[in-house]
Symmetry: C2
Subunit: 277 residues, 2 copies
């Protein structure tokens, strides 16, 4: 089965090819490295591609719960998809992303067709508040980061991130101590957002602990993403917040809002606090 070449980078870098028995071959890109590992959200996009291939009638990973067992490295990976139940409107699958016999991610995903859900129940009632951000041109551009940082975090070249200066002073050594990081997001190559790409977008911001004077890598234990609607084209607003540090762990809540003012995804991860550098 020959697939057409993916026109956009994310689709290309997260592509999978079936190898039988519910297994899919992937190749984790060095372009998605952050420090020593491969970005978790990008790995979820790879998982999302395998889910779409395995359950084509339920193309959206409405609820994905991923537990991160070991740090992934660039290179070949295998995604196994074990459909545990397929009903009329949703299907649930157990997924593992494995490299060299070692599981990187164990995940469960409940998939469906968000367009069908929205058509059947068009009402939307949102009391959450869309983040107020200065215009993108008045925000801090990820592309303006120091060359040293860009080399350490190659994934920054995949997208155009504009951080709200109200929560970005940690960049100049003055963390705001608010536990919030927020900004505008779009893909660097002009790709428009879709449900699949939101799986990556929920994990592209720096750890919210940067704003709490705790820089460094914060290993994710568990990340659950709920995709709530197909996003409209244009810039996305992404906001991360933590409200509870305890036992050396913190939760990071993420909201993604589209250009039409819709809350299109919510995620929460539980992560380990960075070790002091």
């Amino acid at each position: 089965m020959t697939e057409p070449a993916a026109p956009f980078e994310l689709d290309h870098l997260s592509a999978v090819s079936p190898s039988g028995d519910g297994r899919y071959a992937a190749d984790l890109s060095p372009g998605w490295v952050v420090g020593g590992g491969v970005n978790g959200g990008y790995q979820l996009a790879v998982v999302g591609q395998a889910l779409r291939a395995a359950i084509p009638a339920k193309p959206d990973a409405i609820a994905v719960s991923a537990h991160f067992l070991t740090a992934a490295t660039p290179g070949p990976a295998t995604v196994s998809v074990d459909v545990r139940r397929e009903g009329g409107s949703v299907a649930t699958a157990a997924v593992e992303l494995v490299q060299d016999g070692t599981t990187r991610i164990a995940a469960l995903a409940t998939c469906g067709d968000l367009a069908r859900f929205a058509a059947r129940a068009p009402a939307v009632r949102t009391t959450a508040t869309e983040p107020a951000l200065p215009p993108p041109d008045e925000c801090v551009r990820s592309s303006d980061a120091p060359a040293e940082l860009l080399a350490f975090v190659p994934m920054l070249a995949r997208f155009d991130l504009r951080l709200d200066p109200a929560h970005a002073a940690w960049g100049s050594g003055e963390p705001g101590m608010t536990g919030v990081i927020a900004g505008w997001f779009r893909w660097a190559d002009g790709r428009e957002p879709d449900a699949l790409s939101l799986l990556a977008v929920c994990d592209v911001l720096p750890p919210v602990t940067f704003d709490l004077a705790m820089p460094g890598w914060a290993p994710t234990l568990e990340l659950t993403v709920h995709l709530r609607a197909h996003p409209a084209p244009g810039w996305l607003k992404v906001r991360h917040q933590t409200r509870n540090l305890a036992g050396g762990m913190f939760e990071e809540d993420c909201e993604i809002w589209d250009s039409a003012g819709r809350l299109v995804a919510q995620s929460r991860q539980l992560a380990l606090l960075p070790r002091p550098m």
Copy 2:
């Protein structure tokens, strides 16, 4: 292997016995029925018992992600625990709760010892706000519910729930339309809260949609619980909130606070809106 008889009801009703190969036999209690099914949080407590038996060195299910595939019924069940990785401080297992060959819950759990986590990193920084509730005696008692409701929801006899009257007017046909339900919680038999029991507590309140003029059963698609600390003895405060209804689904965020003012658990579920009755 003979276990001592569990002195408290929850421990007895969620007990499991090993049957080899990572499988544990359980008996889902008719005492935890809510409408047509068995309460999801109670099922998580059963899962938590199996995890403790399988991974005794990591007794706390710090992050549990459960996808609900089919409605459970009272009676025998088997919990299978497949440890996918055990490291120094955490272990991750894939778990299924099965009845008559049909999977009820597929879950992933990352387990550890919260006491060890707290000893290693005693700092706590919480910006979340403890719910302000009137004293328990000025709240709406679950035991005062109409006899018809108590018969339909036998699980209400398992605990003493005191709902904040500010979000309980749906009980008299005047939903507050706030998307919030909150109250005091303690076990009916005097059992003190512990980490295991929080897995059940996060799912004992009525669906928050009751407060949005949408009564009825709201089937859970996915529920993730993060246990953040061992709770102190005494009353718990439990608060549920939804902030986004879309596509016929809503998220329900739960916070559990202990008597020492600690945020001891956070959970989020994605559920289907109740069908109009």
